[in-house]
């Protein structure tokens, strides 16, 4: 590995969006065969920079060299030809197409314009074998796991012969095992002579795989450092520009009576099979119950059933002593539920509506916001202003459309709305997805505060760190069942990982006490 050959040089890159400088004179060098991390807070300009490199955006000024030659990357096609491929933060996959169709799109195997499906599938299979990326070439994207979708994304770049791969926050949606696997894939790719740029907020990931790291803050490149010789704390401070703490401050929980109890709950999924297969669960006042599990094991359906968004097939759900099974969402909300939904833009907000309208989305219909069927705009405005201030939602005005807020502030608005109603149960589904350290810190504090006020909190997240840091008890879901409930301070990441992969609790105990060599690999494969 000749570590000195520069495959990418970006010099003095500036990108303006109107008057806003998203990239401000950024420098970046990537060497052949390295994994180069790009670290920065939300909105620092990482995606923008990489979109420039991959031909989606044109820089306002600056120079790009690929393999020593100055180039102008005016389209994704050009980037492609230069051997640059990008795995996007939000997957760029057509749900209704198969894996193969997605991979070959734009570079199809064809005869006289007609696609040679079989041949293409073979190619995909071969490629996926070569790099150990197990995918089913014939599966439709909408029916495969997020992990497999991501592997399809990676294959897309490899299929195009990319030598320089850009991964934009690839781990946000993966299980620990999948992350592990991805790290393995990246290392394998590098060993085959590829170079990788890895965008992430997660310092431990950088420590684990990256060789060097460039830190970007507010559109400026701060520094490029050698990962081996830099501590996590140093990286974090560089990224944020101040000193940060990671640990969630919390005292011991004082659980009281159960607020939510679920008995033998069965929920069918849209296509008709059981997604939740007879769950029993309690959440007590004064505790945070974490729901861990790999995406697609029934967590979403469980939450939808509790919140009234999905039909309960059998079983009962009791909230605050009231049977809320199959009640309308509004009735359930009124009984005492707060819900921070998994997809904030799809469920949490009506983006084109104003912030104040969104702030009262759950309460617009009752006094004082509505009288005799008429909205009381004054009251609504006052209340929204209060919340905006209290929860530090950054916006130009309460009359701005929700769409104009940054992701983190959109989430804060939802949290403000849901917490301020003081529900006896707060369900938070992936509340910090895609947010930066500061925002995460804040949200976690609020969840704990809610708990300390004697309310019940249910936290669903795919991020183990978050689950372990915030929860008091953790229920692990696998294949529609809760296969174990453990105490947060008595478990380990490893144990949870195994449980999430469907290894039975007994086996897990065995595994944990036995030799700890390669079991992770096997577990990951079994999913």
């Amino acid at each position: 590995m000749s570590q000195t050959q520069k495959v990418i040089e970006m010099k003095g890159i500036t990108k303006m969006f109107g008057d806003f400088k998203a990239n401000d004179n950024i420098h970046l060098e990537v060497r052949k065969g390295e994994i180069h991390a790009l670290l920065g807070e939300n909105g620092a300009g990482k995606s923008t920079l990489m979109n420039i490199l991959s031909g989606l955006l044109e820089p306002t000024s600056g120079e790009i060299k690929v393999n020593g030659e100055t180039v102008s990357i005016d389209s994704p096609d050009t980037a492609n030809r230069l051997g640059i491929g990008m795995v996007h933060q939000h997957f760029m996959l057509v749900d209704k197409f198969t894996v193969t169709e997605n991979i070959m799109l734009g570079k199809e195997k064809h005869r006289f314009g007609f696609i040679d499906q079989k041949d293409a599938e073979k190619d995909v299979q071969k490629l996926s074998d070569q790099y150990g990326l197990s995918v089913d070439p014939k599966a439709r994207i909408e029916s495969i796991t997020v992990g497999m979708q991501q592997r399809a994304e990676i294959l897309k770049t490899l299929y195009r012969g990319a030598d320089i791969l850009i991964f934009d926050e690839p781990t946000g949606v993966l299980t620990p095992q999948e992350i592990e696997e991805l790290m393995g894939i990246m290392k394998k790719l590098v060993s085959e002579g590829k170079s990788i740029i890895l965008i992430t907020h997660k310092l431990d990931e950088i420590k684990q795989v990256a060789d060097r790291c460039t830190v970007i803050r507010r559109g400026k490149s701060i520094d490029t450092v050698d990962v081996q010789t830099t501590s996590q704390q140093e990286l974090a401070d560089m990224m944020v520009g101040r000193s940060v703490s990671f640990k969630v401050e919390k005292g011991a929980s004082q659980p009281k009576e159960p607020v939510l109890s679920i008995k033998d709950l069965v929920v069918k999924e849209a296509r008709g099979y059981d997604a939740v297969k007879g769950i029993n669960l309690e959440v007590k006042a004064g505790e945070v119950l974490g729901i861990a599990g790999v995406d697609g094991n029934g967590q979403s359906e469980l939450i939808q059933a509790i919140t009234g968004l999905a039909k309960v097939d059998s079983g009962t759900i009791t909230l605050d002593g009231k049977d809320i099974t199959n009640m309308k969402p509004r009735k359930i909300t009124e009984t005492g539920l707060g819900h921070i939904p998994e997809d904030r833009q799809k469920f949490g907000l009506i983006l084109p509506m104003t912030l104040e309208e969104n702030m009262t989305l759950q309460s617009y219909y009752h006094e004082p916001f509505s009288k005799n069927g008429f909205l009381q705009h004054k009251e609504i405005k006052q209340y929204s202003k209060k919340l905006i201030e209290e929860f530090d939602v950054r916006t130009t005005s309460e009359e701005a459309p929700a769409a104009s807020l940054s992701g983190g502030n959109q989430q804060k608005a939802i949290i403000a709305r849901e917490i301020d109603r003081d529900p006896s149960l707060l369900i938070a589904a992936q509340p910090t997805r895609g947010l930066d350290v500061g925002a995460i810190e804040y949200i976690h504090k609020r969840l704990i505060e809610q708990r300390d006020n004697g309310k019940a909190v249910m936290l669903m997240s795919y991020e183990l760190d978050e689950i372990m840091n915030v929860s008091d008890r953790i229920a692990v879901m696998y294949d529609g069942n809760i296969i174990a409930i453990v105490n947060a301070d008595e478990t380990s990441e490893k144990e949870l990982g195994l449980l999430m992969a469907g290894v039975s609790p007994d086996r897990v105990q065995e595994e944990l006490s036995g030799s700890n060599g390669k079991e992770r690999q096997t577990v990951a494969k079994s999913k």
Binding site: M16, K331, F347, G373, L375
Partner: protein, 331 residues
């Protein structure tokens, strides 16, 4: 136009002078605007809620036929009762006709576009059948009684005998009510919310089904009310139709031109009314085929719809002033 040897200036002069030069034709233009306001608002509210109600024509017809039926059946009721009752009947039948599409959409997910198109033709044939078999001997019903008429003398006199009627004021009232409903009422808020994001609305405890049906009911109700006003205001009777009333389809154009805003829709209706009535003067006074008026309307909507270009131009001018930075959006 010039290419075909027509003089556009005389054409528009003829149109404008024709309408504004006489209270009668101005009155007629406003009368036409009245009905367009109803069909436009009817289309707009469904559109706001996320539906493409292409069935305004059929709903208008349903309102018209039911209103005439009612007015003919109870000619002797006092005017104070008969007129409102007739209008309500028209509104209710229009609402039901659209409600079918709404309910099918809400409960079966059936495309409202297809259903409303099909209901249009169903309304057309059924109306003709009802006229011939129940309401009239032949193709035209009797006139409704004086007590059911929307004419008001001073308005008729003011506009030199035009058919402008009480409906115009009802239209203005409805424009205001529509605005109040959408911006100040809880249920209007729900309709908008469901239209903008049905998922979030369900999450917030609104019933998508209820709001789909509600917005379609209002939509059809407005169209039906328009039909009733057309019936007892413009014509005083009903006759068999050769085709679906154009005024229903023009409602789409009016609503789009008004950018979904009730006041905008009202103004667009007036513009349409003027163009519609005024275009009648083009062949006579300027020798220009009145198809030109439709082409003009289409052009206006085109530029309103493509307002992005205009915004872009304004932006360009602005940024050019500010600096030479090659930013902004692309062309």
């Amino acid at each position: 136009m010039l290419a075909f040897g027509y003089n556009p200036i005389t054409a528009y002069e003829a149109m404008i002078m024709g309408v504004f030069g006489s209270p009668y034709f101005f009155g007629e233009a406003l009368r036409q605007a009245t009905i367009l306001t109803f069909s436009g608002l009817g289309f707009a509210i469904a559109f706001k809620a996320g539906f493409f109600n292409i069935g305004i024509s059929g709903q208008l017809l349903a309102g018209w036929v039911s209103a005439i039926w009612f007015a003919l059946a109870f000619p002797d009721l006092p005017r104070l009762i008969l007129v409102p009752a007739t209008l309500i009947i028209g509104m209710v039948f229009g609402a039901i006709w659209a409600g079918i599409a709404g309910a099918l959409r809400a409960y079966f997910g059936t495309s409202e576009v297809i259903v409303t198109i099909m209901l249009n033709y169903t309304a057309l044939h059924t109306t003709n059948y009802i006229i011939r078999n129940f309401l009239a001997v032949g193709n035209t019903t009797e006139r409704v009684s004086e007590n059911a008429s929307l004419r008001i003398d001073w308005l008729t006199n003011l506009t030199a005998g035009s058919r402008l009627n009480l409906g115009f004021f009802i239209a203005i009232a409805v424009v205001v009510l529509y605005w109040v409903f959408m911006t100040h009422m809880t249920s209007g808020f729900e309709v908008r919310a469901v239209g903008l994001n049905p998922n979030a609305s369900t999450y917030a405890g609104m019933s998508a089904e209820k709001n789909i049906i509600l917005s379609m009911l209002i939509s059809g109700g407005l169209a039906g009310l328009g039909g009733a006003i057309h019936g007892i205001g413009t014509f005083g009777n009903l006759f068999t139709q050769n085709a679906l009333p154009n005024i229903g389809f023009n409602g789409i154009a009016v609503a789009l031109l008004g950018l979904g805003n009730p006041f905008g829709t009202f103004l667009a209706s007036i513009l349409f009314g003027i163009l519609d009535v005024g275009s009648g003067f083009m062949p006579n006074r300027a020798g220009v085929p009145d198809e030109m008026a439709s082409i003009v309307i289409a052009a206006i909507i085109f530029f309103v719809g493509a307002n992005y270009v205009i915004r872009l131009l304004i932006d360009k001018v602005k940024t050019n002033k500010k600096s030479d930075l090659e930013g902004g959006e692309e062309a």
